[in-house]
Symmetry: C2
Subunit: 428 residues, 2 copies
């Protein structure tokens, strides 16, 4: 099956109207997807996207168009036969790598294309992406990963050994997840723009729905942050997990001081306390605020930054994003490194479609890579799922294992129309 | 004086035809500038650009257009009156920061705009940019810098103390530089695509021109790298400085092993031995290969990466780029941190127009910030200077101090026409 064309769509939701998604760094988030359809000469298509915000979508779509010659005309087997080599070509384009390398716009666009290829591959195999991965031999899985720049943390041989060690117990974990789902937490009760009464109502509704793990946004002022945590604990009690997300607002010393004021609320983690590039800063914060954990990842540019966060013992939770790094291939590299260093992966989600993606990541992590659910929980936000052909489903605060073939990335035709920017009905 | 419009130009030189600029990561470099003209209601304009390669220019120009509302309509005094605050707004655009933050395409585009503002500011003052900086009070200079995320390495008060300590001896350094120029080294003798005989000829010509410091490209194979270094040492002798640039081709252990083979050539530094994001990797390489120095910077995304390279004692030379970080304001932050940590800044240059920019950076560093020429040398490549209204001038292997008002960034009108992509005569 050959890829004949890459079609792009500018998909934007007007979430800024309701302040869903608002946090200390994003006052007016219009959740958007730079959406990619891989047309083929067969009877299926590949669907993928990268998540962005509003005007950022223009640039990601332009970057997809700049990269698409790496996939148009390729046979799917040529790509998947040596996927690490294909991924290396995509990320090493000799005229585009100056824009990164492997970071920012060009890497977000890479993810849209790469994830669409995984969707196509899984659809052809008639499997959800997590199962496509779970059914690979260790050698096949390792062959998807470009180990460049991470061999000082993990070698292909070490990865093979780790994967082989888990192979025998694989089926029992699949059975377990199909029965129980994958543990999750909910973010959409605590957006920064929401008034207190709305937060209270949403907390009560979430508890009634079976949620036991919650996150709130912080970072405006110590007084307001303390108040937000008080409100959450009042509604939720002391027996649920509570996390807080600062969205990069603090310098290192400021983070350490600020988190001390939040100590009474027994936070499981503080998320993005400072710049996502600051490995040594996160390590200093982590040493100072234990036992509160440190989490970051949604803005970590690539596997090299994650490698260092692990080497420096800088974080307690790896919050890899499905689109920030260069698509699923690089996510697999991060999962392997995290497993080797014994740090749980709790992927970032929310936005539009990120929950649909990350359920596959977390499920594959448990089945093949880490083999553990200890201290794991995957983000969920209750927005925009209605636009997907196969939306993520939550039951009792856990992701239900997706069974439809593909990467759950396909947006409904009606939604592609209505969310189309600037012509769709949402924007007219 | 008010900025009334931001005009953009797609400027590309067909340097790939001659393999000038070729290295281990860039086989077909068409040196390009995403070029910006700030139109004003006065009688002067601001000129700035960001350097990219070929097709990458499209995306940088699109990003300039996405950011330009932060400067159009602004009075120059509004911007320069609190430049750190303006810079923070530009780099924190709530819909665009998802694309970085502060890295890649969006940060390169930020640099084009920011550098054009400095050009305009200096022209209005009737001074070259280095002198605009040198004539500032310590408080004025510090007010240009956003210290966010670097206060654990340097505080505004520390910066003020450092600047004040150098103030009294400032004039003698200006006199010295006007007399002697600023020390430089030459890269354009050793591009990877050049055959041996061409390298020999260029070395002889450069020695005759007064050059005493040289760089070669490496990273293809140990045999060919050893041969390249042999050829350079044969032509140049043992009394000149020789550096080698690997352009990110190695993993950490590979870099350490490879550089051992180059030990006989007494390299002053190995440049970009591995991923520019790998602070801890550079530190490991540096420990292993001393006394050969480690240099990096042209691909370091921002001040947060530089901060960590300094904190981790990972590099011997800071090769800050004039466009990679968000323009001159962030470069000043890097210069201050480097001075505090006692590490020399040897800016990256070459490309198109980077030599024109960095001469101002190095001169300002000596006059106001580090106060030292010890172990300093600024890159020079002998390409494309003819396109500039005020090209960088080299005499006896040193930059001659530029005296024309502005940031030396203005491209000649004829060149703007001929290099215009795709319509210019160079491309037809």
């Amino acid at each position: 099956m050959r890829v004949t064309a890459v079609e792009t769509h500018d998909v934007r939701a007007r979430t800024s109207l309701t302040l869903a998604g608002s946090d200390a760094a994003h006052a007016d988030p219009d959740y958007s997807a730079a959406y990619v359809v891989l047309r083929t000469d067969g009877d299926i298509e590949g669907h993928g996207f990268t998540f962005t915000i509003g005007r950022a979508n223009d640039l990601c779509l332009a970057a997809v168009n700049a990269l698409k010659h790496h996939v148009v005309g390729m046979d799917l087997d040529e790509i998947t036969g040596d996927m690490a080599a294909w991924w290396r070509r995509l990320t090493s384009d000799s005229q585009l790598r100056w824009l990164g390398p492997e970071k920012g716009v060009i890497h977000l666009a890479t993810a849209a294309i790469v994830n669409a290829v995984w969707d196509l591959w899984a659809k052809r195999a008639g499997k959800p992406v997590w199962q496509l991965i779970a059914d690979m031999t260790p050698a096949q899985l390792v062959s998807c990963i470009d180990f460049r720049y991470i061999t000082d943390a993990i070698s292909p041989d070490e990865a093979l050994d780790m994967l082989r060690a888990l192979g025998l117990s694989r089926d029992s974990r699949i059975t377990e997840l199909r029965r129980d789902g994958y543990p999750a937490y909910v973010t959409s009760v605590g957006w920064l723009g929401y008034p207190e009464e709305k937060v209270r109502e949403l907390c009560r509704a979430a508890v009634a729905d079976g949620w036991r793990s919650f996150k709130t946004k912080v970072g405006i002022s110590i007084e307001s942050d303390v108040r937000r945590c008080e409100v959450m604990r009042e509604e939720l009690g002391d027996r649920v997990s509570l996390m807080a997300d600062a969205n990069q607002v603090w310098d290192v010393a400021e983070a350490i001081e600020w988190v001390r004021f939040l100590r009474p609320f027994d936070l499981r983690w503080i998320e993005e306390p400072t710049s996502p590039d600051d490995v040594l800063g996160h390590a200093a914060i982590r040493r100072a605020i234990a036992p509160t954990g440190v989490a970051t990842g949604e803005h970590c540019a690539n596997r090299v930054i994650f490698k260092q966060l692990l080497q420096a013992q800088a974080i307690d939770y790896v919050q890899v994003d499905a689109c920030r790094t260069g698509g699923l291939n690089e996510v697999l590299a991060v999962l392997l490194m995290a497993a080797k260093f014994g740090v749980p992966v709790c992927p970032h989600a929310g936005g539009i479609g990120l929950c649909e993606y990350v359920q596959h990541i977390s499920i594959a992590d448990y089945i093949c890579i880490s083999g553990s659910l200890d201290d794991r929980t995957t983000e969920y936000a209750d927005h925009l799922h209605e636009h997907f052909v196969h939306p993520a489903v939550i039951k009792d605060g856990r992701y239900v294992v997706p069974e439809a073939p593909g990467y759950s990335a396909e947006i409904r035709a009606e939604s592609l129309d209505s969310l189309s920017f600037p012509g769709g009905s949402e924007w007219r």
